[in-house]
């Protein structure tokens, strides 16, 4: 992939991440969840950057996304977004390093989503008092599995298209 191609693809994914993030925020909050903690569907875009482009670019998109969140929703939301995003990418990078081709996209997506939520939960526990953690943890685990399955399913649909446009070298 040439540098220009790389730049264009990363920018496109960043744009997609922002759109998903805006749409997600305009939905009414799910009752019983912590304000600010999202199921992280915009993390899907970050995952694709990791799968198709590279680690550095994935981290870049996650950080840029937090900057966007900072400018629209304030410092705490940005902190949540950043901790979720960074933990999620780090875990997926580690899994790829350890298991290489033996791990499936499904498990990678699920782990990415689950740790995105765990990262946000850790951030929330620093902001709020610790107590609510135990209550929300199961909810976020299940939400992570759902989001992970959704991500992997989307990926399965999108991957052939990517291959046709030679976006992917995998």
């Amino acid at each position: 992939m040439s540098r220009t191609q790389r730049l264009v693809i990363v920018s496109l994914f960043f744009a997609v991440a922002l759109i998903i993030s805006v749409v997600e925020n305009s939905l009414p909050p799910v009752p019983g969840t912590i304000p600010g903690v999202k199921f992280g569907f915009s993390n899907i875009a970050v995952m694709y950057v990791l799968f198709f482009v590279g680690k550095k670019e994935a981290y870049a998109v996650a950080v840029l996304k937090s900057v966007f969140v900072f400018s629209t929703r304030g410092v705490i939301a940005a902190f949540l977004s950043l901790s979720g995003g960074l933990l999620s990418i780090t875990i997926m990078v580690l899994l790829l390093l350890i298991f290489r081709d033996r791990i499936s996209y499904l498990i990678l997506s699920i782990c990415g989503a689950v740790f995105h939520n765990i990262g946000q939960l850790i951030a929330v526990s620093l902001v709020y008092s610790n107590f609510y953690l135990l209550y929300y943890f199961p909810v976020l685990l299940v939400a992570g599995v759902v989001a992970g399955v959704a991500t992997a399913t989307l990926l399965k649909i999108i991957m052939p298209v990517f291959k046709r446009f030679r976006f992917s070298n995998k």
Partner: protein
């Protein structure tokens, strides 16, 4: 790299089992804990209600008389009347374990159960 492997199911089931396990740990640890209800209006604490009086009564928050809360003698609290269109707050039902919450977003009211010993007030932040 494959999309899906049969062993993935085991991992998914394990994650869901952990979630279920943690939920039971939570239920267990939250039982019998002294709690109070905190009512927030647009992220500001406006009322703290004791839930251990063993009395049944209705009340409203000042300025929001269209929204009625009910405290039950068993130590739970619920939204019982609201002028909002969707009634999500009422459908949330009775809350009595710390950590639980219900919200009437059209009216900006959030009900949250907090442990009594938790003197740390929620930070006044808008997320």
């Amino acid at each position: 790299m494959k999309f899906f492997k049969r062993t993935d199911l085991v991992i998914i089931v394990a994650i869901l089992a952990i979630a279920a396990g943690l939920y039971f740990v939570y239920l267990h640890s939250a039982q019998g804990k002294e709690v109070e209800a905190k009512i927030f209006y647009e992220n500001k604490l406006v009322k703290v209600v004791s839930l251990s009086d063993g009395k049944d009564y209705d009340f409203s928050v000042k300025g929001h008389e269209d929204v009625v809360f009910h405290v039950y003698a068993d130590g739970s609290i619920a939204f019982v009347k609201s002028d909002c269109p969707d009634k999500v707050c009422i459908n949330a039902g009775k809350q009595r374990l710390s950590g639980q919450s219900a919200a009437c977003l059209p009216n900006g009211l959030v009900l949250r159960i907090a442990p009594l010993e938790d003197n740390l007030s929620d930070p006044d932040v808008v997320i």
